[in-house]
């Protein structure tokens, strides 16, 4: 499938790389010659240097033959015009990255057409939404929701004094007959493994588990974790992500404290927000953080535009006793560092956006999907088709690719966490978890 990506910034680069590795024909249009050159040498795709909103450029990129257009430059207008042009050429799916709420909240006539775009996506907002989810699922480093929120996938750690520490998964299964959660992956010493019944959980393990939402408490108890409600939230950095997040928190009735370095931005924030407290100061100003009661917060997110500041501020916050700290990191290279230095979770705009976009790229049978921040594994929710290899089989006879595991089965309104003898029927909605190497094969398995 031919895919045209306009703009090779944070989001565009990641998407292009991802799609190219999925064996798609990717053409990138980038205005900056340096960036264009760098992509050409690093990735196996075609780069066209020029303006993504220009007809000639898009034609050069083969927009006539393209099935997909991802317009993800930093400029809303360029993205929207690119979509508008693409819609004239009958491109099947047009995705535009849009930051200005005026464009996606428009009413009336514009609402219908959306400038020809099928999907308007706002990376900052996606990020904010993800951080909010992490706030609500305490102790989790990754969160994804499926089946309208009835099934959750969480990244959690095994505590030292956890009731399940030292036990194999089979033993845990025997001890707790009612199985409401399933361990789908374990990260240990930088490696990701799909566990078997003999795998032992040891303290310090980062595990991924699939659970029914209303049985999460039990899972938390077994892992020695505490689940707490958030009331007091502090945001370090009032950029686009900070502002979006603060707004979402306000809607939920939480009054966040927002710390921002630029005086002008502070004024803007104060004007935009209603109940939030806006502070002018540095995110790494120890005195100020203590003064404003950092240790009494239930959640803290470091969301400045600088990765380094976010890491440092998160460390400081942890040091000062903030119980739950989430960092915004643009560079995914830093993400593995996060759990090692004690920060609870990290979120990156690339991955958040990629999550949303890839789901659409993969086509209709994938209902939703999520990419894990930490190890790039993917969880996909999909419908089992009548003629597929899986239909009518028991789980133990499935012969899933190694590196993939079935997380949950939903039939009608009922959700079950599968056992070996659970039978898969056509029409079931399943959540399947796959490590990076197995993603391609897994997706084909259910086709």
């Amino acid at each position: 499938m031919r895919i045209v990506v306009v703009g090779a910034g944070e989001v565009g680069y990641h998407l292009a790389a991802r799609l190219a590795s999925d064996q798609h024909d990717v053409v990138v249009i980038e205005r900056d010659a340096d960036i264009a050159g760098r992509i050409q040498t690093h990735l196996d795709l075609l780069v066209i240097e020029g303006n993504g909103a220009s007809l000639t450029c898009l034609e050069k990129a083969g927009i006539q033959k393209a099935e997909l257009l991802l317009a993800v430059t930093n400029f809303d207008e360029v993205n929207l015009i690119a979509c508008l042009i693409a819609s004239q050429f009958g491109v099947r799916l047009k995705v535009a990255r849009v930051s200005n709420p005026e464009y996606y909240q428009h009413r009336g006539a514009l609402q219908e057409r959306r400038f020809g775009a099928d999907l308007l996506i706002n990376p900052e907002k996606e990020c904010a939404r993800e951080i909010l989810k992490l706030f609500h699922r305490s102790a989790a480093s990754d969160v994804a929701e499926f089946a309208d929120g009835r099934v959750v996938l969480l990244g959690l750690s095994v505590e030292k004094d956890a009731p399940v520490a030292g036990l194999t998964l089979a033993e845990i299964g025997q001890k707790h007959r009612e199985r409401h959660f399933l361990t789908v992956a374990i990260d240990r010493n930088g490696d990701s493994i799909i566990p078997t019944g003999e795998t032992r959980l040891i303290p310090g393990d980062e595990i991924y588990l699939v659970a029914e939402s209303h049985h999460l408490k039990e899972a938390y108890r077994l892992l020695g974790l505490e689940s707490r409600q958030i009331r007091r939230v502090m945001l370090l950095g009032g950029g686009r992500v900070g502002l979006a997040l603060a707004r979402m928190l306000e809607w939920e009735g939480i009054h966040p404290t927002v710390l921002e370095q630029s005086r002008d931005r502070c004024v803007h924030l104060a004007e935009e927000l209603d109940t939030a407290l806006v502070l002018h100061g540095d995110a790494t100003d120890l005195d100020l953080l203590v003064q404003e009661g950092i240790s009494e917060t239930d959640g803290l997110a470091a969301v400045t535009s600088e990765d380094e500041t976010n890491l440092l501020a998160s460390l400081l916050a942890k040091h000062l006793g903030a119980p739950r700290v989430i960092a915004l990191l643009k560079r995914s290279e830093y993400i593995p560092l996060v759990s090692r230095i004690g920060i609870d979770a990290a979120v990156s705009p690339r991955l958040s956006t990629a999550n949303r976009i890839l789901q659409h790229v993969r086509g209709g049978r994938i209902l939703s999907m999520a990419v894990m921040e930490r190890n790039r594994a993917e969880a996909m929710e999909l419908e089992v088709l009548g003629g597929s290899r899986a239909a009518g089989r028991k789980v133990q006879d499935l012969e899933l690719p190694s590196g993939a595991i079935l997380g949950s089965v939903q039939r009608g309104q009922e959700v079950t966490i599968p056992r070996g003898d659970t039978r898969i029927e056509a029409g079931d909605r399943i959540v399947v978890f796959a490590l990076p190497d197995a993603i391609e094969e897994t997706a084909r398995f259910f086709a």
Binding site: L279, H280, L288
Partner: protein, 481 residues
Amino acid sequence: MQGRVVLNVVAILTAFSGVTMLVPAAASLLLGEEAAVHILAASGLTVAAGTLVYGRTRPIEEITIRDAFAIVTCGWVAVAAFGTLPYLLTGSIPSFTDAFFETMSGLTTTGSSVVRDIDLLPRGVVLWRSQTQWMGGMGIIVLSVAILPLLGVGGMQLLQAEIPGLTQDRLRPRVRQTATLLWVVYALLTAVQSLLLTVGGMTLFEAVNHSFTTMATGGFSTENASLGAFESPFIQYVVAAFMLLAGINFTLHYSVLSGNWRAAVRNRELRLYLAIAGVSTVLLTLLLYVPVPAYGLEASFRAGLFQAISIQTTSGYVTADYATWLPAAQVILFLLMLIGGCTGSTAGSVKVLRYMLVAKEARISLRKLLHPQGVFAYKVDGRVVSADALASVSGFLLLYLTALAAGVLALALFGLDVATAAGAAATTLGNVGPGFGRVGPTGTFAGLPGGSLWVMSFLMLLGRLEIFTVLILFTRGYWRR
């Protein structure tokens, strides 16, 4: 400042006010009064004076901000000065000082009067008296901009100097259209009220006069006992309702009339305004009913409601002698005098929005103590109020209180007793009407020392033009190039 330009526009305004005198002249003529001739003469003199000056001055090319302040202030003084002619020529009020006070009280919609017995005045003069309030209510300049084509240039500057409210919403792209729209809404409400009052049993003359002075929140009546002369509860309720409406921002009236109810429902100032009126009504009702239950609950409620609204909207009608009420009730009325209606209404005094903003500022100062590095925005109805606007509100409040204090002191120097001086200063500065003590609900301003009447005339003008426009003429910076 371009003196000739100022004179030119003032001349137009004067001539225009002379033309409006034809209305009472015609009414007088219809009623077969002798005074018709005198009012006609007053009209002729005013128009002649205006035209004469107009012919000798340069027509406007461009109005600067400086000119605008001078034009508005001088315009008001000139119109008030010539407005005395109907009183003087008919002999209704023989002294110029008294007549000037009466006209200024009319134009500024104050409603304080030096007339001891209204029944002795020719009806034409009574109508002129009410009409000055009606014209002053929405603003002489606004009216002129709406009607006279020659004031299109620089009209906005003039408008801003005359209604320096905080919400300068232009309803339409052109100044003239905005001004016309405001007057249409104003006239419409006046007409509806006249109709209702006629239904309630007033004669057409009484109905029109009272509607003129209600919508302007003026308070002049055709009767010596004010609205108290009309026993009908219906009439009192109608007047109370329309006073309340007149105290609301006319932009909101326009919104509602054009189908946008939400704007009104969401408006915070309106909500607070209604809340203040509601709470004071309840308090006054209790203070009237509890000590004298024999008075009746409905009657107590009606008296409390009417007086609270009348004073808060700075109308100044009276249906009861509140001087005989409990001290607490009188204090409530005095406080209402210092609050006033909504911005953009015909009501005077400080106005609710200013208090809202100052209260907000105070709250933010408190929060700032807790969070020294906090950054806060001042928002009203989701719209940000600039720091400049806020500073001007604080400045206004200070100047208002200073003017009040200076006024009380000046009046006391003329020998007025404390209650009278305080009441008279507050009532004239706030454009309310009746005060306390000698100038209470049953008294008049007649017989007060001439000097004190000039002081009060000045206070009325100061209050009506919201201080800044007048005061700026007395600053050194204004005259320096």
